[in-house]
Amino acid sequence: MINRKGLGAVREIGIYVHVPFCVRKCLYCDFLSFPAGEEERERYVKALLKEIEAGAVRYGDCLVDSVFFGGGTPTVLSGGQLIRLMSGLKDGFAFRKDAEITLEANPGTVDERKLGDCIEAGFNRISIGAQSLQKEELAMIGRMHSAEDFFLAYRWARESGFRNVNVDVMAALPGQKILTYLDSLERLADLEPEHISAYSLIVEEGTPFYEWYGESGKREAGMAALPSEEEDRLMYERTGKILAQRGYGRYEISNYAKPGFECRHNIGYWKRRDYAGFGLGSSSMMGNIRWKNTSDMGEYLHLMEKTPQLEAVRKERHPLSVKEQMEEFMFLGLRLTQGVWKEEFHNVFGVKIEHIYGETIQKLCKQGLLTEGDQVKLTPYGRDVSNYVMAEFLF
């Protein structure tokens, strides 16, 4: 098959590339990520390039609107490796001129040179994981960098030419106080990044944090406690207010941006735009079929290293029924501040939203969790308990 790169391209897609490496696993992290040696990293990059090449043949008729390199810590890779991966993508796919191309980075894994390489590679957005600027909090969650490392990374990113920067900050960390959280947030906002992700810690199964803070977890002596739900919500409320004053809009439950800098790639997930995932354990949705690549590195390498076998590497392939598409439309769309547009639901599914979810919407409106007009949106309280609301939209 020949690559029909961009030929008559109408379908816009996002691309996600997973880099499952990190220097050290954070204590709360349950993502597919682990430390690896130089040799393994290079082997992985080669396999990934093969997968990209093979994928490009299949999806060459798409137009790439956004790319996201996530992890792990993609910046564990060398500048050269990142350049090769981006070239692979650009060789295979047609890109929109203004495509948003994001690189996730962690302080301590980047320097001026590597960031310069990233710009050269074509990345135009960088997302830096600061999480906190308090020494004790960073230590508690097992981050290996300091606040100073972050400030340096941020400065280098700007100096290298990144005009679109996101900073991650975390709330509800063990031992965190409202004041220490707000101190981190405000000092980060002082830098005026274009985008801020401020999210609460979720204690996930299979992490050290789960052992300590999970349902039946046992905190060891001397370990700080998690803030209460009440404190967590207060942090969330104050985040919205402080960032609004500084010109950031909350466009999604935990994402804030200056006008025009909302993350297109993430919005794509919430609006159910097609996206192709590459790499170990990456997720994809193309034409209402979802799948996920194998999480087994040995298997991944084996399947990619000779003739790439795309079908074999894809696990959990699941074509979505119309009902499932509706469920997703609702629970994903509701994450956005603008909510879901009733008209859009009608356009997509050919049936009025009221016919499907009329009762649910009414009930949730009565409970003060949703408001209803041309759009259906979460109220502030609805946002606090959004899982409860979203679960109501499952059949």
Partner: protein
């Protein structure tokens, strides 16, 4: 099988403290006598049910017949009867023992005699069994066989110096045990020419054969075609088949005669007709008297059982019906609860029996159950002179109609090493026990006698006893009778609505304490809702305790990395699924397990 020489039969059982290696020894004996190769042996052959194997306890008596070629050159027939190991099944144990002529006492070489060792030995001696000891686990580094031998002689007073030293686990000394069985277990007596007199020690239901009666022939003989009569239940039937017990299978034979252990089938449809302890005789030529010791087994503990999914009610009914076929002690009748819908009020021998039935329903019949707090039968004497037996607290008449109430009381004997007398007496005091006396068995062991209300021991008394005596106390009880008592019904209100399934009867003096604990427990079991939920305990309309489940403040998944939507959806589905498994009371959703949390109120 004509011409079996009675003098070559040995009917025996193995008694031991839990974990001293009873089932392992049984396995080795079966293996050694060549019934099964070790490859075929699934560990602990006699414990049939998965549940038994998992819990390491024997629930139903198991029996196996083996042929042993002894050193004297003769072939012996061994009938090994494995007995249940819990106080709930004491009656079954006593009937199994009554079917034997001797018992092997297994004692752990490192731990020596323990509480249950004594209780079991005395039970065996009460049945006039010849008991001989074997010392197990001699391969352990901490084994002290001589010390254990001396202890057995001092404490129990049976000869122990020549006790076989064995390791059942490693198959050491098994031969010696088998020889000892030949030498020390007396051959059965009884004459095949007398009228038939056979003891039922167990029965089970088979969908092809009907009820299979396990019995020990004391006198006379039985064969196909014999008209038999069950003397207590007065059921009659014609024998279809007799036989003995191969490992895991029934092997038919011509005739069972005095001294033999085997089974009878007679197209009996209901296990209730073949009560354990009853005597089987020849209807045409009956024996003069039934064998002694028969008791009608009554349920002592009751609780409501409801399917978690209301639509499974017929499934639950079918399952109970099937279990009852094999378990005459299980009773049930339909009932309804406002909170839980349609279900059954079930009666059990004790709490372990309840737990076992519950687990079997859940595993073997794949049912998700909600169980209400277990209770006993109370006698409610009304002003008009009427007396009502109450098994479901919800049916308690209005207090104004009640003259007085009575509750069942048991006489309990607790065997304990002296160092734990204090804590155990304290426990009995807490449970409204009346001290009757104490006997020293030897310097370091005592037998405490108490009268205890049954409803104080059905929850977790056994566990509490074990934990406060580090496993050393053993306990046995007998229903003594009914006594007047100041009892009240404790109601639980959730969001101001009374939840019938959570009500229970309690002594007035413990009502406050229990109410408070109950509210605390429920507070932790009921998830936060969008609104605040008061949980209250009330007696006769008066609130005596309260807790509050605060309104939900946060339920949000903040981040969704890499577009793994499937995972997020699974989380939401789990949440939704969790809600399905909840019971709606008013506008509060209560998880099923909250109803069960009342079972474990007294955890110390």
């Amino acid at each position: 099988m004509p011409g079996i020489d009675q003098s070559k039969i040995r009917n025996f059982c193995i008694v031991a403290h839990i974990d001293h290696g009873k089932s392992t020894l049984a396995d080795r004996i079966i293996e050694k006598t060549g019934l099964l190769t070790s490859r075929e042996m699934q560990s602990q052959v006699l414990d049939n049910m998965d549940l038994e194997r998992e819990r390491g306890i024997t629930i139903k008596a198991q029996t196996v017949r083996i042929i042993y070629q002894a050193k004297d050159g003769e072939e012996y027939i061994f009938n090994l009867i494995d007995t249940p190991g819990h106080v709930d099944f004491n009656y079954e144990v006593s009937r199994s023992l009554a079917a034997c002529d001797g018992a092997i006492l297994v004692v752990d070489a490192a731990q020596g005699i323990e509480a249950q060792t004594l209780a079991n030995v005395y039970l065996a001696l009460d049945h006039n069994l010849d008991v001989f000891p074997v010392i197990n686990k001699i391969d352990l580094p901490s084994a002290q066989p001589q010390w254990v031998k001396d202890e057995i002689e001092d404490v129990i007073g049976i000869e122990a110096q020549d006790a076989p030293l064995i390791s059942a686990k490693n198959g050491i000394g098994i031969e010696e045990v088998l020889e000892a069985v030949v030498a020390k277990v007396p051959a059965p007596s009884g004459s095949p020419d007398n009228p038939l007199q056979a003891l039922i020690f167990d029965s089970l239901y088979d969908s092809y054969k009907g009820v299979i009666v396990f019995c020990r022939i004391k006198e006379g003989k039985v064969r196909k075609g014999t008209q038999i009569l069950m003397m207590a239940t007065e059921a009659k039937a014609e024998v279809v088949e007799v036989g003995y017990f191969g490992p895991g299978q029934f092997i038919p034979c011509e005739e069972l005669s005095a001294g033999m252990v085997g089974y009878i089938t007679a197209s009996i449809k209901n296990v209730k007709d073949t009560a354990v302890g009853d005597t089987v005789t020849d209807a045409k030529n009956p024996c003069a008297e039934p064998l002694p010791g028969y008791k009608k087994v009554n349920s002592m503990v009751f609780c409501g059982m409801y399917p978690a999914d209301g639509a499974k009610y017929p499934d639950l009914r079918d399952a109970l019906e099937k279990l009852q076929l094999n378990d005459a002690a299980l009773q049930y009748e339909p009932e309804t609860s406002v909170a839980l819908g349609f279900g059954f009020r079930c009666g059990f021998l004790g709490l372990l029996h309840l737990e076992i039935i519950q687990e079997r329903l859940e595993r073997e019949y794949n049912l998700d159950l909600v169980t209400t707090a277990p209770g006993v039968i109370y006698r409610v004497h009304k002003n008009n002179g009427e007396m009502v037996e109450l098994t479901n607290p919800t049916n308690l008449p209005d207090p104004s109609e009640i003259d007085f109430m009575e509750e069942p009381v048991v006489s309990a004997e607790i065997m304990v090493t002296t160092e734990f007398i204090g804590p155990i007496m304290e426990l009995c005091q807490e449970r409204r026990g009346r001290y009757l006396g104490m006997e020293y068995i030897e310097e370091t062991r005592a037998l405490l006698k108490y009268e205890l209300p049954l409803n104080e021991i059905i929850y977790d008394f056994f566990d509490a006893l074990k934990s406060r005596s580090r496993g050393y106390a053993s306990f046995d009880y007998d229903l003594k009778g009914y006594e007047e008592s100041k009892l009240v019904k404790l109601d639980i209100l959730i969001n101001h609505e009374e939840v019938d399934a959570l009500s229970f009867i309690v002594h007035a003096d413990s009502a406050y304490d229990r109410g408070r604990k109950m509210c605390e427990k429920l507070k932790n079991e009921i998830p936060r809702h969008l609104f605040e939920i008061p949980i209250q305990a009330a007696v006769g309309g008066k609130i005596i305790a309260r807790e509050t489940v605060k309104a939900m403040r946060k339920d949000v998944l903040a981040k969704c990395y890499g577009g793994d939507i499937t995972r997020k959806k699974k989380l939401l589905e789990k949440q939704k699924e969790g809600k399905k498994r909840m019971r709606q009371i008013g506008n509060v959703e209560i998880p099923q397990k909250a109803f069960m949390s009342v079972l474990k109120l007294d955890d110390k």
